[in-house]
Symmetry: C2
Subunit: 453 residues, 2 copies
């Protein structure tokens, strides 16, 4: 099955709902991937979507609901009773996804829904998972996994795996535990396939090597870092006694990695919480207004700096021409420098051993950039404004501002990181404003000197 044009399916679903002939929803729709069905449903009205969800078989509707984005999912869940949510959604999806869905609901509703679950083990697992913060390894993990006892032989292991496989969607790794459920190692499917005798004990063919685990309390960023570093598809989660609690699969971590990268981007663009273009006006405003107000205060500060030099502007109004250029270039260089440091920190390619090396290199880059930019500007102003004092003022200021902004832009995120703040703060309006203020001070001081005031 190729990715399909989901609009076609949307139209088909519309017709079905108009005719009130639901046979398609009871059979043919299962030929489509839940992600495609979700895509097509998105374009219908909320009432129509909930109707379809109720008609679909319980297993399929659970998978479809998981594919909706959070806002739509919450809207749909609002249309379903706790019993319906338990039966049509939670009962049939993996514990990690179920915990994610439940986490968006009130505690009262959570308990009600769990009360309606028929599978007692599923219910216990869920209560367990809901105790974890969402951004920890425990909050990411699923309880479903294949585990075998170190004391079994291949025959017994395969028999037990058959039983367990019925509720595990994908078998990535087989975990080997002892009688106390302490994680001892892994058994590769390859090894199992290659083992000729079913009498071979698991203890003979399992591997203790390269067993990478995380604690349930570890942060999701750390989980992502470990899985990326070791190129893992699944990662076992243990407690302090090394008891196996669950496993995290890479698809959940892809979202963490993506959100991390997007967060830095949003921060650099002056957006304070994770928003999407589909969010409401109020959410979008709330995410943006604070940065604009900080920018506004910055602008007011800058206006005070300029006001200090009003006398100079009165005598040489041409000085005003280059105010935005000096301010903007300081901001540009500062953001560039900070962004490189922020990414270096995020990717762990930068560490504190290299801080002086980093500053030195940044200084070299800034010198090259500053020289080229200053010469270009000098040439321009000499030719077009033909005022020597002005040309020297703007080019000397530009040179100085680029150097200062580069050093500032490199140092601030490193300091923020050292004191446990998010270094990406440095790419936002704070550093731009600071660079504007410093830049214009430099500009007017140089001007005062050049014009001999």
């Amino acid at each position: 099955m190729e990715m399909l044009d989901s609009k076609q399916l949307t139209n088909h679903l519309k017709q079905i709902l108009e005719k009130e002939d639901y046979r398609f929803l009871e059979s043919e729709i299962f030929d489509y991937h839940p992600a495609d069905v979700a895509d097509s449903l998105k374009r219908l009205h909320l009432d129509q979507i909930s109707l379809v969800i109720k008609i679909l078989t319980n297993e399929f509707s659970g998978e479809v609901i998981l594919e909706f984005d959070e806002d739509l999912r919450d809207d749909i869940l609002g249309k379903l009773s706790s019993k319906e949510i338990a039966e049509e959604v939670i009962e049939h999806i993996d514990t990690d996804d179920a915990a994610d869905v439940l986490n968006d609901l009130s505690q009262e509703r959570q308990e009600e829904i769990i009360g309606f679950l028929e599978n007692a083990e599923h219910a216990t697992d869920l209560i367990d998972l809901l105790n974890y913060e969402m951004d920890t390894a425990g909050g990411l993990m699923a309880k479903e996994m294949i585990r075998v006892n170190i004391n079994w032989n291949v025959n017994k292991a395969i028999r037990e795996m058959r039983r367990q496989a019925e509720e595990v969607d994908e078998v990535f790794t087989i975990y080997v535990v002892d009688d106390k459920n302490v994680l001892r190692g892994t058994l590769s499917l390859k090894k199992l396939l290659l083992t000729q005798s079913v009498r071979t004990p698991i203890s003979k063919i399992f591997s203790e090597k390269d067993l990478i685990t995380v604690l349930d309390t570890e942060s999701s960023d750390e989980v992502a870092a470990v899985m990326e570093k070791y190129d893992l598809v699944a990662l076992p989660v243990v407690d302090v006694n090394n008891v196996l609690l669950g496993r995290i699969t890479i698809d959940d971590v892809v979202d963490v990695i993506k959100e991390e990268a997007e967060k830095d981007y949003q921060m650099a663009s002056g957006i304070s919480e994770s928003v999407e273009s589909t969010d409401g006006v109020w959410v979008l405003t709330r995410a943006r207004l604070p940065w604009l107000l900080i920018g506004l205060v910055g602008g007011i500060l800058v206006s005070r700096v300029i006001a200090m030099y009003e006398d100079q502007l009165q005598v040489n109004p041409t000085l005003a021409f280059f105010i935005p250029l000096i301010a903007a270039m300081g901001g540009n260089v500062g953001v560039q420098s900070s962004a490189i440091v922020v990414q270096g920190l995020a990717n762990k390619t930068l560490d504190y051993n290299g801080i002086f090396g980093r500053l030195g290199k940044e200084l070299l880059v800034a010198l090259v950039n500053a020289t080229i930019c200053a010469v270009v500007l000098l040439a321009y102003v000499l030719v077009f404004n033909s005022e020597a004092a002005l040309s020297y003022t703007v080019s000397i200021s530009l040179f100085t501002v680029i150097i200062i902004a580069a050093l500032f832009g490199t140092t601030i995120p490193l300091l923020l990181n050292k004191y446990k703040f998010d270094p990406a703060l440095a790419t936002g309006p704070f550093i731009t404003t600071a660079n504007d203020v410093i830049g214009l001070f430099v500009y007017f001081i140089v001007a005062r000197f050049m014009y001999g005031l």
Copy 2:
């Protein structure tokens, strides 16, 4: 094994190299994960690293080299002969990784290295893979995978899988093909585990459902989108006749997803190519100077705009105070609006159906933000500058500039995307400069009106 402190291992390696006693490298080092060994080696001198690489067994050294970042890897390869590269690196790593390594080398060197390979199938596969562009499905795929013929039974399939498993690291999916190697479906390990009789024909237990494939010529962005949408761990690659060519695993796609997110971030920060803080001065300068020069030209343009209103500035030098504020706020709003659209396009949550809805919503957000910011600024200027004309000028201009910048910032990336340019260009200096120019025009026009000039 937990993640270890790689500095300790670095120190140990240093001692070993000093003492010239290499026994550690011949046995105990295999207890470490190649990623950790690579991390520790990074801190040694290039000559020391190459020495260690040569001493390590061929299989292990290949895996270690893969963990280095590209620059270091190329440096190390520069220290090895073609024969050494073939034997110590290429021969023992998966075809997709091997193709990545070879892709960085000259064509001459590639051919030389392939000539030294002992495994003829590996060599043919590699030549095949090197024909693909790196950013296509063909460029991402590996040739290693488990495939069974639809005409076999479980017994024969398991026997063949045992043979194939020796060269495949991880078994994610078993692909079912016909005699012409046309992909017919998949066989889940779960199904295989659950099948009781070894005589059962594969054709009875394989699944044709939910078979998602990509063409070898598809772009890597599309591959990432498909794998994310369907939460896939492995994706089969086929040609136009549906012949199975290879498979792409999620770990390679995580890099694509991450690079994509980082690219937008770098673009927004005014960095034109993917650079890291570890890159050289010249690479870093080249990535940044073009944006600074564009910013410089923008600043010069802005200076021309201001120059047009020199007479006004002469009469009211206080007007100059708020020039940076108006310019900066236009830029801030524009970048916010663009960033939201850029992310919406990247995540496919935004489509053209919604363009007017998007603009309408953005207009609402802008109205709220503009009103609040303008009122704050009005109050400030009235209280502190107590010049009525100035306060009205700055607040009316600010209001207008925020609205224009928001609409502009929303429209430009949508238009860029429509005409196949990278929408992230809009978050760079272009839009900031455009907003500066428009903003200052608005400012001086409003001022002329307010001061009755």
